[in-house]
Structure formats: structure tokens, C-alpha cells
């Protein structure tokens, strides 16, 4: 790892391409954190894992189709619609299974995730056997490599993240109200079914945007970890959203700089380690929910209690 380059990347002094990548990852992290806080409150966090994995067969199929048509196969202009299509198919498959069978949601989501991801891996392994340089770099879609993003891709990613962030900001109050009290939300005219579909769509947008940067496998970390960390620091849903958004943005920015300085490392696992550390640290020291302070508070309370009892 090149520390001087890392420092320059942090100061956005590592080339114009890096500035775009840093902006894209920063806003991707912010959108993922924001949407993630809603998903966590609504208890739908694992859905993004399903959506992320389910993009893969669509992406691989779009790649093959573009190749057959003689187009540039790695362009997000084909890969994204392909991924969106297969993620939407996975959502419909899960809904259908839930409505028609007696399977519990965890079994349905697990089955759908595994089937789609398996199909995706099969297509990817087929692509890797193709002759020529066409297939080079497609494995990035699994774990991500931010530093290798083209500028045009970074701009597209930025736009997608901004769209998700804007929609999430607009509907934040309603999404939070629904998570707390669905009956009240419905009577207030907030239309729970539509809001849930919006949340699914936002998670899908984040999963798609994350695809070229942190990969399909670890998109879930970007959504869940900032929100889970933020929950430890706050007992207010609104503040939790703000903290998760900020944390995601910081992680994205830092991840872009790390990827620039150490391009051989995959960005997805890097970001997961960063966010995992933030979560573990928060679990230890966060004021109200951290284990350290809670332990100390308990001990003090117990001593007070004993002292009171010991009085004659």
C-alpha cells in the first residue's frame, strides 16, 4: 500500500478520475446508510442481500447478450438494466412463493438468493472460459474494485446514488412512521404497500449502484453496518438515519482512497472491514448501548442497591 498516494487520494489530489470515484462512493455510502436505516427499522435488512446476489445472473446475461451483438459488454448501460431485471424477477419469485406456499420468509429468501446467485456464478464461469480479453475484469462485479471505475461509470453511479438519496429523503418520515406503527400509517393515508415497494426499489437501486464499486456479494454490508452502528449511538430514528448517512459517506470516501492506494485489494471486503471495525468499536464504547458503559452502569447501580439494603 502506497501511503503517500493514500494521503493524496484523501485530499482529492490523485487525479481527476479519483475525484469522481471518491464522490461516487461517498454518495453511494450516504444513500446506502440512509436507505439502510429505513430497512433496519422496517426489519427488511436482509432483502438487500437477496437483491444484490440476484443481480448477478441478469448482469452476466446482459454481458453475454452485448457480446453477441458486438457491443462493449462491460458498459453499465447494459449491465445495470440486466441486473435490475433479474433482481425484479427475484422479488416477484419471492412474493409468489410467500403467497402460494407455507414457507416462512427466511426460507423463501434463502432459496431465491441461492438459486439466483448460483445461476449467476454459472454464467460468470462460462464467461471466463470465453476466448480473448472480453471477460477480463468481470470478477470485479463480485467483490468490487472502485479504483478501476471509469469516469463515466462513476458519474452514472453518482446519479443513481443521488436518486436513491433524494427519494429516501422525501419519503423518510412516512417510511419511519410505517416501521413503527403500520395501522396508524395506513389510516393517515400513507399506503403501506406502496411504501414497502418504494423501500424495496430503493434497496434495489443501492444494490445496483454498489455493484461496480463494492460488488454484488457485499452490498449488504454497506446497507446494514452503518445503520446498525448508528442504532447503537442513538435512540431516535431520525438521528439514527442522519448518523448512518454520515457514516456511510465517510466509509465510501475512505474506501475510495484506500482502493486508489492499494488497487490490488477488492473494495467490497475493504469497506466491510472498515465498517465492521466501526460497528465493533461502537458496540464497546457507545454511551447508552455500548457494552463498556452498560457494564459500569450496572455495577454502580448494583452497589447502590446493596448499600441501600445494607442500611438498618
Amino acid at each position: 500500500m502506497d501511503f503517500e498516494l493514500f494521503w493524496r487520494a484523501l485530499c482529492l489530489d490523485a487525479g481527476p478520475n479519483h475525484a469522481w470515484v471518491a464522490a461516487a462512493l461517498c454518495f453511494l455510502g450516504a444513500a446506502a446508510g440512509q436507505v439502510g436505516s429505513f430497512a433496519l427499522l422496517r426489519r427488511r435488512a436482509l432483502l438487500v442481500d437477496v437483491l444484490g446476489h440476484a443481480t448477478l445472473p441478469g448482469v452476466a446475461a446482459a454481458f453475454l447478450l452485448a457480446l453477441a451483438l458486438g457491443l462493449e459488454p462491460r458498459s453499465l448501460a447494459w449491465l445495470w438494466p440486466g441486473g435490475a431485471l433479474s433482481a425484479a424477477l427475484a422479488t416477484y419469485a419471492a412474493d409468489w412463493l410467500l403467497a402460494r406456499t407455507r414457507l416462512e420468509p427466511d426460507a423463501v429468501l434463502g432459496a431465491v438468493l441461492a438459486s439466483f446467485f448460483g445461476l449467476g456464478l454459472l454464467l460468470l464461469s462460462h464467461i471466463q472460459t470465453l476466448p480473448g480479453a472480453a471477460s477480463a475484469g468481470l470478477d470485479r462485479l463480485l467483490f468490487g474494485q472502485a479504483a478501476a471505475l471509469q469516469r463515466s461509470d462513476a458519474v452514472a453511479l453518482l446519479a443513481l446514488a443521488l436518486l436513491a438519496g433524494a427519494l429516501a429523503s422525501l419519503y423518510g418520515r412516512r417510511l419511519r412512521t410505517l416501521a413503527f406503527d403500520p395501522g396508524f400509517a395506513r389510516l393517515a393515508g400513507f399506503r403501506p404497500e406502496r411504501l414497502d415497494r418504494l423501500l424495496h426499489a430503493l434497496l434495489g437501486l443501492v444494490a445496483l449502484a454498489a455493484l461496480p464499486a463494492v460488488g454484488a456479494v457485499l452490498a449488504v454490508a454497506l446497507v446494514v453496518l452503518p445503520a446498525a452502528t448508528a442504532r447503537l449511538w442513538s435512540d431516535s430514528a431520525r438521528r439514527m438515519t442522519h448518523i448512518a448517512t454520515g457514516l456511510g459517506a465517510a466509509a465510501g470516501y475512505l474506501g475510495a482512497a484506500l482502493s486508489r492506494a492499494a488497487p490490488e485489494l477488492s473494495t467490497g471486503p475493504l469497506l466491510v472491514c472498515l465498517l465492521g471495525l466501526a460497528f465493533a468499536g461502537s458496540l464497546a464504547v457507545a454511551p447508552r448501548h455500548g457494552l463498556l458503559w452498560r457494564g459500569l452502569r450496572r455495577r454502580a447501580a448494583l452497589e447502590r442497591w446493596r448499600a441501600e439494603r445494607a442500611l438498618p
Binding site: 406503527d181 395501522g183 396508524f184 430514528a237
Partner: protein
């Protein structure tokens, strides 16, 4: 056919002052009817209970009122209007199990939800909203607990928070689902007093209630579901032995 559709939204002048009027409501699940030909009128300043054994249709009635299930037939009007046009004048206090108590919010933040429908998508809550929230918290006696996490409040206090939310939304009709369930005697009495005061100020409340033993002292009128034809009437009449026997299918202690 357009004139037919526009007719559906017109205020019935005779009903404009009636918070809730239900005529010929029939509803059920799949092909099993649960409620048939229910007529129900709730006037301004009335506090009425809905009672009946499990499966008699208490929650089906509430769901039909809230638009959660589509009735097979019949008509529900709030202040002479269909639900869609009367939302702002109705508020709902959910059953305890329906709410996520691990949700991170203070009492004040829950009460603020009552202002969200007015604020729409764009507007931030302003000084007027905050004043309404403070006033509602004070009215239910929770100004000291305003910043406590909702999950840490007692059951009675949580119900008061919901009443404050209904109050600051400006609703005139409250629909409450088992608000007294799981409360100790003192909180139950306190909550009932508060509810009775709010209704005496000109609001109305329909309360799904489970505990037969307390219906007589808490409510003037009740709707007994199950057994014979459902009818809203004075509590003494509804609680008459033969009516109860018909509804519950067994003799109950008076």
C-alpha cells in the same frame, strides 16, 4: 356513468354531523362471513365499546372501518364522507402487539407523527406543529416524559402517548383497539378518565374492549357482536343476561 362516481364522494348533509355511521355492513374472510347487516351510529361526544367473544368480528369491524378489508357490502361514512376524504378527522390507537416497541423514538417523536399527514411530503414541522405537540403531551400529562424512549414507558403511559398523537392530529373521532389490555387497575382508571374527558370536549371514541366486567363502569353504550343481530345500545340493555348468553354461547357471571 361519471355522475354515479361523483355522487359517491358527496357529503350526505344529514350525516355531516355524525362522526361514524355504518349501514348494512357485511364482511368476512374468503367465503366465510363474519359480520352481516351491521348498522351502527356513533354520535358526537359518545364513548362506546365494541364487545363480543373471540371471532365475533370485533377486529373485522375495525379493519373494515380502517379500509384494511374490503366489505362485501354496506356503507361506512365518517362525518358523511367516505374514509378517503375523512382521514384527517380520524385517528387510530393500535393494539399493543401491532407496534414495534424496539423502535428508537421518544414519546415526543411518536406524538409528532400525528402532524405528518398535515405536513405532506415536503414541509418540515414548524413552530405551530411543535406547539400542538407540546400541548397534546401536556394534555395527557406526559410533559415530563416527553424525551423518554417510547419502549421504556409504562403501558398506561404508552397509551397516553397514542392519545396525544391522536389529539395533535386534530382528529375528532378516535378508534381504539383494546387500549386497556394489560394495564394495571390504576393506569386503566387514569386512562379511562382521560378518554372520557377528551370525549366530553366534543370528540367521539369507539373502543374495542375485551373485559366484560368493566364495560358497565367505563361506557355508556356498547355494541355486542356475536350470536344474534348486532345492536348498539345502552350498556345495561346490551349486557342483559340473555343477550350475553346468545353472543358468548354460555352463561357468564353477572
Amino acid at each position: 356513468m361519471i355522475w354515479l362516481r361523483s355522487d359517491a364522494g358527496r357529503v350526505d348533509p344529514a350525516l355531516a354531523q355524525v362522526p361514524l355511521s355504518v349501514t348494512g355492513l357485511t364482511a368476512g374472510y374468503g367465503d366465510r362471513p363474519v359480520l352481516a347487516d351491521l348498522d351502527l351510529t356513533l354520535g358526537r361526544g359518545e364513548l362506546s365499546a365494541v364487545i363480543g367473544p373471540n371471532g365475533a368480528g370485533k377486529s373485522t369491524l375495525l379493519k373494515s372501518l380502517l379500509g384494511l378489508t374490503r366489505p362485501w357490502s354496506g356503507r361506512v361514512r365518517f362525518f358523511g364522507l367516505p374514509l378517503e376524504q375523512a382521514r384527517a378527522r380520524i385517528s387510530y390507537v393500535p393494539q399493543r402487539e401491532e407496534v414495534d416497541w424496539g423502535y428508537p423514538a421518544s414519546a415526543r417523536e411518536v406524538v409528532e407523527m400525528g402532524r405528518y399527514p398535515r405536513a405532506g411530503l415536503w414541509r418540515r414541522l414548524d413552530a405551530k406543529d411543535r406547539a400542538a405537540v407540546d400541548q397534546a403531551l401536556e394534555r395527557v400529562g406526559l410533559e415530563a416524559q416527553a424525551d423518554a424512549p417510547i419502549g421504556r414507558l409504562s403501558g398506561g403511559q404508552q397509551q397516553r402517548v397514542f392519545l396525544a398523537r391522536a389529539l395533535c392530529s386534530g382528529a375528532e373521532l378516535f378508534l381504539l383497539d383494546e387500549p386497556f389490555a394489560g394495564l394495571d387497575a390504576r393506569s386503566e382508571a387514569g386512562l379511562h378518565t382521560l378518554l372520557a374527558e377528551l370525549v366530553a370536549e366534543g370528540r367521539s371514541a369507539l373502543v374495542v374492549h375485551h373485559d366484560l366486567s368493566s364495560v358497565a363502569e367505563r361506557f355508556q353504550r356498547a355494541l355486542l357482536l356475536g350470536g344474534g343481530p348486532p345492536r348498539l345500545g345502552p350498556v345495561a340493555e346490551v349486557l342483559a343476561a340473555e343477550a350475553l348468553e346468545r353472543a358468548y354461547g354460555t352463561r357468564l357471571a353477572p
